[in-house]
């Protein structure tokens, strides 16, 4: 089931999250909720991201610069992982002969490095 939370529901759900902190994250672009009729709504992925930011700031006590760096690298890693999964799925959908050719070509290139 798809969960969509309004801001007050999100704040209530996550211990030690104050609205001011959430607004700062939105201003920094760290959280980008969709807007429905002008009001921000939070999907499950947004909620999980808010929780991560809470863990990074409150738990690990990283400062703002460090969180920016971590988020940037994390979003790149997930972008790359997404591309890699798509590419793997595309290869997987090929006939066995083509998969084998790609596998051989892959090893020739990857093992040569």
């Amino acid at each position: 089931m798809m969960i969509i939370l309004r801001e007050e529901e999100l704040v209530a759900r996550i211990p030690d999250l104050l609205p001011g902190r959430l607004h700062r994250w939105i201003r920094l672009g760290w959280v980008r909720p969709e807007r429905v009729e002008g009001l921000p709504v939070y999907r499950e992925a947004d909620v999980a991201r808010v929780r991560l930011l809470r863990d990074l700031e409150n738990g690990a006590e990283f400062d703002e610069d460090t969180v920016v760096l971590i988020l940037s690298l994390l979003d790149q890693v997930h972008g790359l992982r997404h591309e890699l999964r798509s590419l793997a799925a595309a290869v997987d959908g090929q006939p066995a002969e083509i998969r084998e050719r790609i596998r051989l070509a892959y090893h020739r290139i990857a093992d040569a490095d």
Binding site: R13, E44, A45, R49, L52, G59, A60, L74, Q76, H78
Partner: protein, 301 residues
Amino acid sequence: MPKDLYAVLGVSKTASAEDVKSAYRTLVKQLHPDLHPGDQKRGERFREVASAYEILGDEEKRRKYDNGEIDAEGQQAPAGGQYYRDFANRGGARQYQSHAGFEDLGDVSDLFSDLFGQGGRVKNGRGRNVSYKLEVDFLTAANGGQTRINLPDGKPLNVAIPEGVTDGQVLRLKGLGEPGQGTAPAGDALIEVHVKPHPQFVRQGDDVLHELAVSIDEAVLGAKIEVPTIRGRVAVVIPKGASSGQVLRLKGKGLKKRAGGHGDQLMKLKVVLPKVIDSELETFMKGWQERNAFNPRSDVS
């Protein structure tokens, strides 16, 4: 038996609130599943740590736990048990994924450039790519250079040939294809390079093969001669007693490698006798033959 929450955080029962917080801080940095997007094993351990800290990090709950009023199983964190990576890995967080910094992959593969590059992402109204074929001579391909093609509208276009371009490689000139609709970007010009063969040089990977003719006296006595390379003439020492088929390697005189540096030039020697064998050579050889029994086929039974 319920877990000892103090052991989970690695602190003693008498640890101060600050010590508990500090232990948790360290464990978050080490174990947080979102800092290890592909490592599923980290999830479970951190779940325990987060649950333990839920209780021990709160003065009131810690007191109750110490008095046996609540046990270690009482809390689950995070509620619902899902980390950000779980959504990101399922494609549930596409708006946060960054596709910045993929441009360099376009150099490796034209397919990647199509899939991941701007062109792959922007579908609405973007201008079509236009393909051209371009013949370049061997040395321009080897060393790089400039050439000029005419676009269909008659406009000339300077094309930079990258050093070491291979036959069949496609060069992409961003935005020089057909214009896009409205504010959409133009397509790209895709230029397929055909490298013309060279009379003396043959490309083999990053190496250049070259057949080098030497005279009989150069082969016997050794010599220092000048040879052509793709970057001009260089001096080479022919070793004394060189044979046909022997390969001399000129390090770094080949083509530019993708990983940096250059390949080699490989010169296969070919001993060439004079067109006319004069009587002096013939007489000398007869004498030599009588005194020396050399059979180059002795290893062939």
